[in-house]
């Protein structure tokens, strides 16, 4: 499976060249590790889609030559654990500046410790991610969270890395009308952040809507609206979270308080592609407010399946 880096990467690369020239010399050799989960999708859709957690990938970066090598010793799939591989140094692009690094890489290969070939290693790493800070949040998030978006082939399986606890920002548009016969109104906000936190077994997820406002007439934003234990279905494009008649809970200083008034009549969260960097969320609240959210959990570099 080939992957291409869309035009945004080329623009980012051009910007990156300016950035690096303005911001100083890129680092030479450095390594870092990041722990992620893996979504393992077989080509045969009748086979089971697997998820493994706690896989640590190490990236070795040569900022001068723009070479990145990826390795791991903790890959688990098809009943095996602690599988290892180490890729060749891949051509890529390293950007550093403003206290953060981003690196892209493509067309990597390796040999898995069980003898299978690892091919088409593509992806990027960034520490510039969306974040949201809420004091006393029962589901706290780090201010800056590194992200590894990578995919590669092992035999007839494609493996996608993802974070089991991701924050998505984008645009929420709500459609509603104030009373029978009243004209339809639209309210759009870019302040809301949607958090998807999977359970260990990947069968359920908790969705948190931060800073959410459903209508202009609300006047205020709700700090955190929590929808717990929503059913998850894994699929070739990632996952679908779907539920009906969910009573959300509002987080305040006293804990979680149910909010029957804002019952989610239905909610569907789905990923358009298995890189899991984007989500689309449709929901109806209190039978009156139809909301649509589209957002991303990373800001830079798009990698799409071809």
């Amino acid at each position: 499976m080939k992957f291409k880096i869309v035009g945004g990467l080329l623009m980012a690369a051009a910007a990156g060249m300016i950035l690096t020239s303005c911001l100083g010399e890129p680092k030479n050799d450095y390594s870092f590790s990041i722990k992620v989960s893996n979504l393992i999708i077989p080509d045969d859709l009748n086979s089971e889609i697997q998820v493994s957690h706690g896989c640590t990938y190490s990236l070795k970066v040569d900022g001068v030559k723009n070479k990145i090598a990826v390795s791991t010793t903790t890959l688990a799939m098809n009943g095996s654990s602690n599988l290892t591989f180490a890729s060749n140094p891949m051509d890529g692009l390293v950007l550093s500046g403003y206290g953060s690094e981003s690196a892209t890489f493509a067309r990597g290969t390796a040999k898995l410790s069980n003898g299978k070939e690892v091919t088409d290693i593509n992806g990027f790493y960034t520490s510039i991610v969306n974040y949201y800070e809420l004091a006393g949040d029962p589901f706290p998030m780090a201010v800056v969270r590194p992200m590894l978006v990578m995919n590669y082939r092992v035999g007839d399986t494609t493996i996608y890395t993802f974070s089991p606890d991701s924050f998505f920002s984008g645009s929420t548009t709500t459609t509603y009308s104030l009373g029978e016969g009243a004209p339809e109104k639209h309210f759009t906000t870019k302040d809301a952040v949607y958090r998807v936190k999977f359970a260990e077994n990947m069968k359920t997820a908790t969705l948190v809507l931060y800073n959410i406002q459903f209508a202009e007439e609300m006047g205020v934003k709700l700090a955190a609206v929590v929808l717990k234990d929503l059913p998850v279905t894994l699929c070739k494009d990632g996952y679908v979270i779907s539920a009906q008649n969910v009573v959300p809970e509002m987080f305040d200083d006293s804990g979680l308080t149910p909010m029957p008034r804002y019952i989610f009549n239905n909610i569907v969260v789905e990923t358009p592609n298995p890189t899991l960097t984007d989500i689309k969320c449709d929901y109806t609240v209190a039978g009156a407010f139809k909301g649509v959210f589209e957002g991303q959990c990373v800001n830079k570099f798009e990698v799409s399946a071809k």
């Binding site: 934003k221 006293s254 008034r261």
Partner: protein, 790 residues
């Protein structure tokens, strides 16, 4: 009647008196001839002398300014070269003691009627000293105009509105004065001099009575012991019964009692060294805040509003004439203000919330300057160092009461979750705030002037460094109870179960600090026009700045936000964003001239200006139901316009003064996040100001120098826009005043009236919690003043 200046010794002062007598004589001879013509008899020498004396009283402000400039070398404004702006590249207005007395002007607010493009509305209480000059001004925190009273540069704008009943002169210098005076003189400088024992000896008294139980009293003693020592002690008292009624309790809201005292000491240890010390204090008890609801047309609020203030200032000036034409001057001041402003902050009859702001502030300043002339007087220079320290301690609790707790907190919370509603456990919710704000700064400045025949070139620059800190301690301790209300109906039905008891503990402590460096240059060119009787034209370009800092009023809103956060409502802003504001900077371009026509019987001052302002500080009322006022820096604004002042004495004993100012001040770049106000007029600053006064003396034919003085005046202001959107405004309005006075050598009786047509107008408008309020201007007022000297 003001006596002629005493001789200090030396030919300069003597030459002044000779010149003044010559001018007065010329006028008086004409008057005497007129009298002789009407009375059909020969005027005696004694009567001629009396007429001369009274004619010298009627010299125009411009002539009085000319006479006053030679020279009080204990006056810091004079030493820094701004005295007699008519021979400098400056636009300004000079108000003599005679005009001030005739118009019952006893402070800065009274200047607002006279000075073009200067507006200081009378609203709220005396803590409110909002001043706008050429469209630029401030309602809160830092002023845009500096004020010095007897060399004491008043540091806190809350102390600007004081009563001074023995004014010797007032002057308003328009345009940035920052290159000489630094911070907070971005649009100008007001300089007030009180009567000195070196200018008058004896007793002076004043009693004024007027409508609404107004009583004003002044008594001053001025004495010169010998050539070295002089002293004066003066005191004043003011009581006002008020005219606006709070219909909630049928009590007058704007009554006031004020008292003050000033002691001036002069000591010349030698021919070349002069020392002056001016100490003053004042005490104020005032109601204030007659804010009327636009919806109801009534002033009606349930909680108390008052303002109490104590001010003490002391200024020590030492001047030394050094060899080689150099002058060294030191001005040291100490200022203390202790006040308490307590408000029914919602101004509604329902118990929403109250605000108390108690502060104590100490300020110390030191200004040292050295002045000299070279090249045979063709080059003069001035250099100086300045430093200040201020320490402010403020206790500012906001107390939410039953309606405030219910409508602003509980109802919002319950509307979002009626199935689990809350009830507050107490009737009051105090949000406590204590602040300490130490700040300090140093500055160095220099100015050079070069005379080349009819041309004078001047350039100045000042470097200011300031460090401002804010230590804040905000806390709140309360609680509420949450109920399980399955029906989700409100109000909460009886018998529902308690779901949870929730304590509310809020604590915000922190320290903010900011510092900045400002450079304020100024250049000017003046061309004297000798063929036009001492006239001149000038161009001046200068930079000014208004200090940045921290706005403490918004902390009550920050606490309210934190409270709402604890109940699940997201915060709207952060402390750093909401309470800090940057310095405001301006560039002022001005062209003007001072002209003397008709053998100086007609004097005209004209100026055109253009001002470019960046980071303009605006006071806005945050959206929603909040309690405070927010300072924000707008993107960019610009202002252009002009002023003209005519001072005309067509015939002896008749004077006409007209002043007009026009300002077009608009936003160039300002978005508040939602709305773009580009092109809109700046709020609260008037587009036009107008003042005209005619004064005529009628000598009583058989008893000169007894005479009757007739005076009529009109002042106009407007349009004034009340908001950034320019959707509301006060149209141009005019107020008519007049006075009739009987003047004898040692006493006078004046009957006066203000706003004689009882014109209705608003001086202030604001919107708070979605409610609109305004303050009406004062209606018709009449009174009588008796002055006596002995």
């Amino acid at each position: 009647m003001i006596q002629l200046n005493r001789l200090h010794g030396g030919s300069q002062q003597g030459a002044l008196n000779i010149m003044k007598r010559r001018v007065a004589t010329a006028i008086a001879v004409a008057a005497a001839v007129a009298l002789a013509g009407t009375a059909k008899r020969v005027i005696t020498a004694e009567e001629l002398q009396d007429v001369q004396a009274l004619a010298s009283d009627l010299v125009s402000d411009s002539i009085a300014l000319s006479n006053a400039t030679i020279l009080d070398d204990l006056d810091v404004v004079a030493v820094k070269g701004s005295s007699n702006f008519r021979i400098r590249p400056l636009s300004g207005t000079y108000i003599s003691s005679i005009r001030a007395e005739g118009l019952e002007v006893h402070g800065v607010k009274g200047m607002s009627d006279i000075v073009p493009n200067f507006y200081m509305p009378d609203y709220g209480s005396r803590i409110t000293s909002s001043i706008y000059v050429r469209g630029i001004g401030a309602r809160m925190d830092q002023p845009a105009v500096g004020l010095t009273v007897d060399n004491v540069g008043i540091m806190n704008k809350d102390a600007y509105d004081i009563d001074i009943t023995d004014i010797a002169s007032m002057e308003m210098l328009r345009g940035p004065q920052s290159s000489m005076y630094g911070r907070n003189t971005m649009t100008g400088l007001i300089n007030i001099r009180t009567l000195s024992p070196r200018d008058y000896e004896g007793w002076k008294s004043l009693v004024t009575v007027g409508l609404h139980s107004m009583l004003k009293f002044h008594l001053g003693w001025y004495h010169t012991f010998n050539e070295r020592c002089a002293m004066s002690v003066s005191g004043n008292f003011y009581r006002y019964g008020g005219e606006f009624i709070n219909e909630y309790n049928n009590k007058t809201v704007d009554k006031e009692v004020y008292g003050g005292m000033r002691v001036k000491n002069y000591y010349n240890p030698s021919e070349s060294v002069k020392i002056a010390n001016v100490a003053s204090f004042s005490l104020l008890r005032q109601g204030g805040y007659p804010y009327e609801s636009v919806a109801t047309g009534k002033i009606a609020y349930n909680d108390t509003c008052f303002y109490r203030r104590f001010i003490f200032t002391d200024g020590l000036t030492v001047t030394a004439n050094l060899p080689e034409n150099m002058t060294l001057m030191s001005v040291t001041t100490a200022q203390y203000i202790h006040d308490n402003m307590t408000l029914d902050q919602d101004f509604l009859p329902e118990p929403y919330f109250t605000l108390t702001q108690r502060k104590r502030e100490v300020s110390l300043t030191q200004d040292i300057m050295l002045k000299g002339t070279e090249l045979g007087g063709n080059y003069s220079w001035l250099a100086g160092l300045y430093g200040f320290y201020r320490h402010l301690h403020m206790d500012a609790p906001v107390t939410f009461k039953e309606a405030g707790i219910q409508n602003l907190i509980v109802d919002h919370r319950n509307s979002s979750n009626p199935h689990y509603p809350i009830v507050w456990d107490t009737d009051v919710l105090p949000l406590n705030s204590v602040f300490r704000m130490p700040s300090g700064g140093v500055a160095a400045y220099h100015e050079s002037r070069f005379d080349a025949g009819d041309w004078n070139f001047a350039g100045g620059i000042r470097l200011d460094y300031e460090n401002v800190q804010l230590n804040y301690d905000n806390y709140c301790s309360s609680s509420y109870t949450m109920y399980d209300n399955p029906a989700g109906t409100l109000p909460i039905p009886a018998g529902v179960a308690v779901f949870r008891k929730v304590p509310v503990e809020l604590s915000l402590h922190g320290h903010l600090r900011t510092h900045y460096l400002q450079i304020s240059p100024k250049v000017s060119v003046i061309r004297h026009l000798p063929g036009v009787n001492g006239s001149n034209v000038y161009v001046t370009i200068g930079k000014g700045f208004k200090a940045g800092g921290f706005n403490t009023q918004m902390f009550s809103d920050v606490l309210q936000q934190k409270l709402m956060e604890k109940m699940g409502i997201a915060s709207q802003y952060s402390i750093e964003d909401i309470v800090s504001y940057k310095p405001e900077k301006s560039w002022n371009f001005e062209i003007g001239g001072h002209f003397n026509f008709l053998k100086s019987r007609l004097k005209a001052d004209v100026s055109l200006f253009y001002i470019n302002v960046t980071d303009q500080q605006l006071t806005v009322f945050p959206p929603g139901e909040t309690t405070g006022r927010m300072m924000t820096n707008a993107g960019k604004t610009r202002s252009f316009g002009g002023e003209i002042t005519l001072d005309y004495t067509p015939v002896p004993l008749l004077n006409v003064m007209v002043s007009y100012g026009y300002t077009n001040a608009r936003f160039v770049k300002y978005k508040d996040g939602n709305i773009d106000y580009k092109g809109k007029r700046l709020p609260y600053a008037p587009s036009n100001t107008l003042f005209a006064q005619v004064t005529y003396l009628i000598p009583l034919s058989s008893k000169a120098p007894y005479y009757v003085e007739l005076s009529a005046n009109v002042s106009g202001v407007g349009d004034i826009y009340w908001n950034e959107a320019n959707s509301l405004k006060q149209n141009l309005y005019a107020l008519l005043g007049c006075s009739v006075a009987y003047k004898a050598p040692r006493w006078s009786l004046e009957l006066w009236g203000k706003n004689l047509t009882d014109t209705g107008y608003a001086t202030f408008y604001f919107k708070s919690m979605g409610n609109e309020f305004l303050q009406r201007g004062k209606p018709i007022s009449v009174g009588a003043t008796v002055r006596a000297t002995f």
